[in-house]
Symmetry: C2
Subunit: 438 residues, 2 copies
């Protein structure tokens, strides 16, 4: 490519300030360096990392940025009049929020990978950016390297999206894959994920579904032109999923995944994260290991799916740099991030009002009339049973029930009544089944 | 949503002229009508179909556009000073090319779904649009409803794409799925696809790979910032794929798909469409029925895949209307379609220089020394054999060979030599195997 290379001197220089230089920040530095010629060719601009704010100046970062560009004064970076674009990859609410607002007030374009911040205060930040006429771009906050924010905002801008179902957390998908395919226990699979660097030492943000819930809030907000925050998202982690659940799911033609579900129904938004059974024929069922995917259903487009690496320095940096290129193009060619002119204020449906199918596993007493009593409890709460059978015999007898679509509150009231029955020794599992049944 | 509806009078009116009103055109009309409120909310503009050019004025179109807006004078539409955006869904080279150039000269934004035109003359049309400062958008020309052009041009604008492998033709994927899963013959599967409306009465554009080759040219051009036309794409259809090939592939852990492959290697572009075996574990292997998918490998992002309906009125119209919304936003808020500032002129690798693995099926004479003669032919052309075994016995004896990665020319020379051997009765199949082997 030497022949046609654009010389540096032809190109406008765009100066970037980087806030944070951990895994994603250092990968972003490397990408901006390694792909400088492609970026120059595509934008006509040279993107230069002018300053990098870090907490610890003495740490080695493995990036090709001169030492004198590092500072521990992040405020100086976002207020530097020479800087055009600020990249925030610190994570968390503060100081990221204050720094981003300062950057917007100083008329910088802002790119962030911060899911916590966007899922809780995205509305405030987007409004500040719009008021100032600058970009606030956050493709990297959901799905790592998977392009999903821009496709929803732009490619599907003429579509009515009905639902978005995602596998948005790579760690839990890895754990469930190992449990399903290799028979590992949850404990061992988590330990392995930690060894491989997929899971943190404290894995609760992943395992308990907090990470996926934040991403669900962002996707729901974009897909339905409304405001959903992470606090609006019902959340349940994978710790209760057992090997027996996985084996029974398999026999029924399902796999168990931690699903992030955002759905628009009768003017209300459903937003929830929980383990669920889905059919092996569903495209999400074949998303294995630490991969992520987002499955979108629209009125006109039907089913589409976006698949890729949901985390990691390289993939996340690709989304960050894609946003940087957009910001650079807007600076040099005009235009801006296109956001809805008006947002809806759709109510978020209370979780006990959702309707889905359920799988339940009970330990029951080995005596006649058990099924009649249990079935009566379901019937009295208008939960209709689609299938029931016994696993094991005698003292080992367990009962598996699959319901038709029912309301969560009715199911919970059924469970409450069941717990009071003498014939029910223990309710071992309750999992939702996401199916085509309506 | 009634409460917050924007009244028509608040919104700027953007006038659209539609060229062609067949399956995609009428679906586009319906979508612009059904989603008018969403589009108004997202853009602040009302999009109105002002004129529709059709060949036959007396045909019923099942669209909610007043009869007096129909005309059979397409030139009057593209030159109408009232019209802001022209949508071309006629297809084929002429008159589409002339009409699009006229629209550009009249400063219209242009949206097209025309793969034949973009794959053969896209460079000329894009240059004309850029010179005039208007948009030429063509998301719908590849992958139907799947967002792929914009994600490649924008989301991956900071990435170096190494390869794009697609299932880009729904008809052939449907046919191969039915042959694989239900044992249908090619003939019966094609007939069924015709009955279902997936295949034309003359199915050759699909079955012979012309449709996929055009789309491959468009994807290769965008992915590698260069110009590849459909004539540059090596093309081979699915008519030679037999039930035995499919059964043997299955036994080897592969499925047979019509793959569209675009790859950048040592500064050269590979662009080819042919049936190939891919591992059942590959994400493309689970793309069934008439679905399409595009699998992208990038230096930093790793593997990503985009999946959805590659044809049909609704999905294609979603992409058309997504582009219309982009054009509307550019008209009302500024900005433009972002294209590379400079294109490379990468050479397209001659097909006989590509390197891949091969599967071969022979009918051979039932006598000693056959394998030695055949192996010698491979060896003399530097094609290394990875595996060989016999299928059937006696007169029914067939030989299956899988090679290591070899050069296409060497393989062809091997085949030439094999055809001259007395022990080779017939070379029944030659299929490429797309694997991880390098």
């Amino acid at each position: 490519m030497t022949k046609g290379e654009m010389s540096n001197t032809d190109a406008r220089v765009i100066r970037v300030g980087l806030l944070g230089c951990g895994i994603v920040g250092s990968a972003t530095c490397r990408l901006l360096g390694d792909h400088a010629e492609e970026i120059r060719m595509r934008t006509g601009c040279t993107v230069e990392i002018s300053r990098v704010a870090v907490r610890n100046l003495s740490k080695d970062r493995d990036v090709d940025v001169p030492a004198d560009r590092f500072t521990n004064d992040a405020h100086a970076v976002v207020n530097d009049p020479e800087i055009d674009v600020v990249i925030e990859v610190i994570g968390g609410i503060e100081p990221a929020r204050t720094l981003i607002l300062e950057a917007i007030d100083s008329d910088k374009q802002v790119v962030t990978a911060n899911k916590e911040l966007i899922s809780s205060l995205g509305g405030e930040l987007i409004a500040a950016a719009e008021a100032r006429g600058v970009d606030l771009l956050f493709e990297a906050s959901v799905g790592g390297g998977i392009p999903i924010v821009r496709p929803l905002e732009e490619s599907l801008a003429g579509e009515k999206v009905r639902s978005v179902i995602g596998i948005l957390n790579g760690t839990t998908n890895y754990v469930l894959t190992r449990m399903t395919e290799d028979g590992l226990s949850l404990h061992d699979a988590v330990a392995e994920a930690q060894e491989l660097g997929y899971a943190e030492r404290d894995p609760s943000a992943d395992v308990e579904g907090f990470d996926a819930a934040a991403k669900t809030a962002i996707l729901a907000s974009i897909a339905f032109d409304t405001k959903v925050t992470s606090g609006d998202v019902y959340r349940e982690g994978i710790t209760a999923v057992s090997q027996l659940d996985i084996a029974l799911a398999d026999r029924l033609g399902y796999v168990i995944k931690l699903l992030a579900i955002a759905r628009l129904d009768s003017g209300e938004v459903e937003a929830r994260v929980h383990p669920a059974m889905i059919s092996k024929n569903h495209p999400l069922a074949s998303v294995r290991e630490s991969f992520n995917a987002v499955f979108v259903e629209g009125n006109s487009v039907g089913e589409i799916m976006f698949y890729g690496r949901g985390a990691g320095g390289g993939p996340t940096a690709t989304s960050v740099v894609g946003d940087v290129v957009a910001a650079v193009r807007h600076l040099s060619e005009g235009g801006k991030a296109h956001r809805p002119h008006r947002l809806l204020e759709l109510p978020v449906r209370a979780f006990d009002e959702i309707r889905t199918q359920y799988y339940l596993l009970f330990e029951v007493a080995d005596q006649p009339g058990v099924l009649a009593q249990i079935a009566a409890a379901f019937g009295s709460h208008e939960v209709s049973i689609a299938g029931v059978w016994q696993e094991g015999q005698g003292d080992q007898a367990q009962l598996v029930i699959i319901t038709h679509r029912a309301r969560e509150r009715d199911l919970q009231e059924t469970l409450h009544e069941l717990r009071g029955l003498d014939v029910v020794v223990e309710i071992k599992s309750v999992l939702r089944v996401e199916s085509e049944e309506t």
